[in-house]
């Protein structure tokens, strides 16, 4: 027959072992989850066709709120005319000012022969330029930052 000391010793070991088993079990679950995520098709995660965001940094003379996030669609046009995807009501912005395109897994900014030009990271662009998150885009007197 087991005496109290032996039972206590077994219980003591068992208690600490349970704690560690719980930890390893949670880690195993986490590993499995990460694998599932890796193998999941990427397409199911996108509901809307949004390929990025424009964040307003300086709203210039438009009523936009600094910090506002605007969706970038595969073809996004920016200008004063209401037909654009992003409408900027400012005298410094041409009716059709700038176009953002999604090609080859990258975003491209193209100037539409605007009067005041399109500035990417403060350089006036003449041909389409590929941009990454963090790039600063200036359209007339409005400044944006690209974000994911």
């Amino acid at each position: 027959m087991l005496d109290t000391y032996a039972v206590l010793l077994i219980l003591r070991i068992a208690l600490v072992v349970i704690l560690y088993l719980a930890i390893f079990r949670v880690i195993a679950v986490a590993r499995r989850e990460i694998k599932v995520v890796e193998h999941a098709p990427a397409s199911i995660t996108r509901g809307k066709d949004v390929v990025g965001h424009l964040v307003v940094i300086d709203s210039g003379s438009t009523p936009l709120r600094p910090g506002a996030r605007l969706d970038i669609e595969p073809i996004t046009t920016i200008g004063r005319s209401p037909t654009n995807t992003v409408v900027l009501d400012s005298t410094f912005v041409s009716t059709e000012h700038t176009r953002i395109l999604f090609r080859d897994h990258s975003l491209w900014v193209e100037d539409m022969n605007s009067r005041n030009g399109t500035l990417v990271d403060q350089n006036r662009i003449t041909s389409p330029v590929a941009v990454t998150p963090g790039t600063i885009l200036q359209v007339g007197d409005v400044r944006f930052k690209f974000a994911v």
């Binding site: 010793l9 600490v16 704690l19 719980a22 949670v26 679950v29 986490a30 940094i57 300086d58």
Partner: protein, 444 residues
């Protein structure tokens, strides 16, 4: 994700661990308390009931079923981790409460009641935050609630300014000796408010527009709430002398700001402010000097009987546990003052040893890991920041109190999440778990 059944099998499997722990721990407690072995000097009647274990297991199971119904897609590891920690808390309260000299046989039952209440609050949070947008829309209300709680504490602090109570942050409510610590709920309110503020001004803060001595800073309008939060932490430290809460708010603000802006400038600036504040506090307030003296000279024969007793006995408790501990129910944790609250880690360390403490730390690390994973997977900046803030509260609390117990920094009365005895803390922590569960649902 596609072939997964809706039933939370993983969670159920993981919940078997706290259940097994509770049953075995109670068995051991019963043996050590009841049997007249040479190992024990316990004179109190043994714990001759398995009610605590069964009660907590049933409560966890009910929570599990409710989550299956109301939040089937939420994270399945959070409840088992929190449940495991809470089980340790209940067992330790039970064990310390029945120790000779402590004379509080109902301590374990009370802690059990708090945990069950906490699980109720957790499910309640999950139900109420079905649409997280209302939480965000009322962010100023949350800020006002948080400030009101701080204000109440502040008034209380002024009322008791001459008493030498170590914590001024306890409010007595009701006749039954029930008390309530407002700071526990302040944390949650401030995280919600700050997440709302940061998610709206994220870009402004990370880019900056006003150049100030070579460093680009955002305009005052955007910077205001950030400075306000840091000021609040300062007021709490000076006015209420609740250093732990101040550190918590400070650390939470810095981690959330860093997560939102990815700029080290804020963290470095915050740390510089902290250093300046610490130096000023050290030279102006005597209590700050005393706190530091306790840490540096606890073993001094003159300091030890006056102020060093607790911290030295805490270290002795850790040391006497050794690698494998004295065994649950076989140590003498009650020698250390506040063995069931501030020094719960020392009590646990004495009876479960270094091996047990390492496992406890592992559980907290997993909790933080899962919380940060929730943040990474969340879509919306507000949800992400809230998960970061709530998780950092767990991480900071654990670090601050464990470092205090181990004499690595001045001791501040922050409860070890889920494990330390105390109703407000347990309930607030389970509310945080409720928020994290809701945030972890990929749909939101």
């Amino acid at each position: 994700m596609i072939f997964r059944s809706r039933y939370r099998w993983t969670e159920m499997g993981l919940l078997l661990f706290p259940a097994a722990f509770l049953v075995l721990a109670l068995l051991e407690l019963e043996l050590t308390q009841g049997a007249s072995t040479a190992l024990t000097r316990n004179t109190l009647p043994p714990i001759d009931t398995f009610t605590p274990a069964i009660g907590l297991i049933v409560a966890l199971a009910v929570t599990h079923v409710l989550l299956t119904i109301f939040a089937p897609d939420s994270d399945q590891t959070l409840l088992p981790i929190a449940g495991m920690l809470a089980s340790i808390g209940v067992i330790m309260a039970l064990r310390i409460g029945s120790a000779p000299g402590f004379n509080a046989p109902t301590l374990g039952a009370k802690q059990l009641a708090w945990v069950i209440l906490g699980l109720g609050f957790c499910v309640g949070t999950v139900l109420l935050t079905r649409d997280l947008r209302w939480v965000r829309n009322y962010k100023y209300t949350w800020a006002v609630v948080g400030l009101a709680l701080v204000g109440v504490t502040f008034v209380n602090a002024i009322r008791h300014f001459n008493t030498n109570a170590p914590s001024r942050d306890v409010l007595a409510i009701g006749p039954g000796g029930l008390s309530f610590q407002p700071s526990e709920l302040v944390k949650i309110c401030l995280v919600v408010f700050f997440a709302g503020y940061l998610s709206e001004n994220q870009e402004m803060l990370s880019v900056g527009s006003v150049s100030f001595g070579g460093v680009k800073l955002p305009p005052l309008k955007q910077l205001g709430p950030l400075l306000f939060m840091l000021g609040l932490a300062l007021i709490i430290a000076v006015g209420i002398r609740e250093l732990g809460l101040a550190l918590l708010i400070f650390g939470m603000v810095l981690s959330m700001t860093y997560a939102a802006t990815n700029r080290m400038t804020y963290v470095l600036g915050g740390l510089a402010l902290f250093t300046v504040g610490a130096i000023i506090a050290f030279s102006v307030f005597s209590y700050a000097r005393v706190r530091l003296q306790i840490v540096t000279n606890a073993f001094d024969p003159e300091v030890y009987p006056v102020a060093g007793y607790q911290i030295v006995q805490g270290l002795v408790a850790f040391a006497s546990g050794g690698v494998f501990g004295s065994g649950l129910g076989l140590g003498h944790p009650t020698i250390v003052p506040a063995s069931n609250t501030d020094y719960i880690a020392a009590s646990f360390g004495e009876e479960f040893g270094f091996a047990g403490l390492l496992a406890l730390l592992g559980l907290f690390m997993l909790l933080v890991f899962r919380g940060m994973l929730v943040a990474i997977r969340a879509r919306d900046p507000f949800n992400q920041l809230m998960a970061v803030g709530l998780t950092s509260v767990f991480a900071l609390q654990t670090l601050v109190i464990l470092a205090g117990n181990l004499k690595l920094m001045p001791l501040t009365g922050v409860p070890l999440p889920f494990v330390a005895y105390g109703g407000s803390s347990v309930i607030a922590n389970f509310i945080i778990i409720g928020f994290l569960l809701r945030l972890s649902e990929s749909k939101t």
